[in-house]
Symmetry: C2
Subunit: 247 residues, 2 copies
């Protein structure tokens, strides 16, 4: 389902000057599962720089539509979102890109959505932005908000993916956690052993054990780790018993 | 304060092949308010391609430190986060980049933080990743997770900025909202006028008014807009009164 939503969201680049940015946009889109690219009056396309910067994402370039007007690019879109660093002249709602992505996904459940990016030098004109239902802005350094075109596409596409999929990433499998009993038996064993090797004095073991408790509590002990630690303690006990036999 | 936090976070690039990516990284950092760049064994640096792709962010390149080993790059960092698309061999915690950014900002309140990115071809090696306290992963298309190096830096820097500043962007000033009374008076006025011009039959006005309510509720009416709409209704009332006088 989330992939279906992403497939209904097209990226529209208007008046792009550098074909390298078109390729980098295709790569940014593909990394996040977007596939539909529409180019309005690209200065140079197709072009070897576009293919080179697309890296493995050339299928998106092969399928890209080239059109002459923004209206053609927005055809059948139920929601159009214009990305801009200067939304002040825009009459409609201005949202941070994260909220705009959420809105895009809600609309994508029912229809097509277009994300529109202006030229490298000047972004979307006020007139182009007026064709959009929502303006979206990427939070940025107010002294230097000049994101590269493909970098802006990358952030918007990332927010769409996180919104569509929950942003889950691979997590290390969690092994069986130790029970409270097993953990307490470990500390009791450690206390006995540390006393027997005279690392701990029987009268004042509290503080060291408390520090060990703190360390292992932070780590969250697993059953297997309890076995390993108790194995080490048991080996120490054996050595100690052997030594005491020699004395 | 948020800017102070961002200034304590350095970006470390290891074994970068293409100087253009170093420049694009500087630009990505500057757009989000990061400033410290450390380069471990860059193949070519300084280089005209780096300067060109940095656009206005050349100060970050001028201030970049070049070092021979990852350990030198991580010097004095209280937290080191390795960005990787393949965290499976990593022994520690693996977090999505958004959560890793939150953790970075918590640590930056007290000390220095390093974000580490591997080479374009192969990312961070397992050995390099083992120097990091946390691994961070950018949610991506599982069939094509190959983000450009500077694009990955852009997303991490964006998450840091959103985390540090709350991700606020410019919002259109909100004009005084209409009160519930004013809104009800508008609908009552509209009902009267629409009946008088025989657009609404007095017996069944409910459904149309309900649709208008839905439309205007979604927009959120302002006082000034109520005045405009009631002005239009009043003008219709006048015309209607004049017509009826003629009949």
């Amino acid at each position: 389902m989330s992939q279906t939503l992403l497939e209904r969201i097209r990226v529209v680049l208007v008046d792009t000057s550098h074909p390298g940015n078109i390729g980098a946009t295709a790569r940014a889109m593909h990394t996040m599962g977007l596939g539909q690219l529409v180019l309005v009056r690209p200065r140079l396309f197709p072009h070897p720089d576009a293919t080179a910067r697309a890296s493995g994402a050339t299928r998106i370039l092969d399928d890209a539509r080239v059109v002459a007007t923004l209206d053609q690019a927005l055809h059948r879109a139920a929601l159009t979102i214009g990305l801009t660093a200067r939304p002040r002249e825009f009459a409609g709602r201005v949202l941070p890109v994260r909220e705009a992505a959420a809105e895009a996904l809600r609309h994508a459940a029912a229809g097509e959505v277009a994300l529109v990016f202006g030229s490298e030098m000047s972004g979307l004109s006020n007139e182009e932005l007026a064709h959009c239902g929502i303006a979206a802005t990427i939070p940025a350094n107010p002294d230097y908000a000049s994101l590269n075109l493909a970098a802006a596409v990358q952030i918007a596409a990332y927010e769409l993916r996180v919104g569509a999929t929950g942003g889950k990433v691979w997590q290390a499998p969690r092994f069986a956690p130790a029970t409270a009993d097993e953990i307490e038996q470990l500390y009791e064993h450690a206390r006995r052993t540390l006393v027997s090797i005279e690392f701990l004095r029987p009268q004042m073991p509290r503080r060291l054990i408390a520090r060990l408790r703190r360390l292992f509590a932070r780590a969250g002990l697993e059953k297997e780790e309890i076995n390993i630690l108790r194995g080490i303690l048991a080996r120490i006990d054996e050595l100690r018993a052997g030594q005491q036999g020699d004395e």
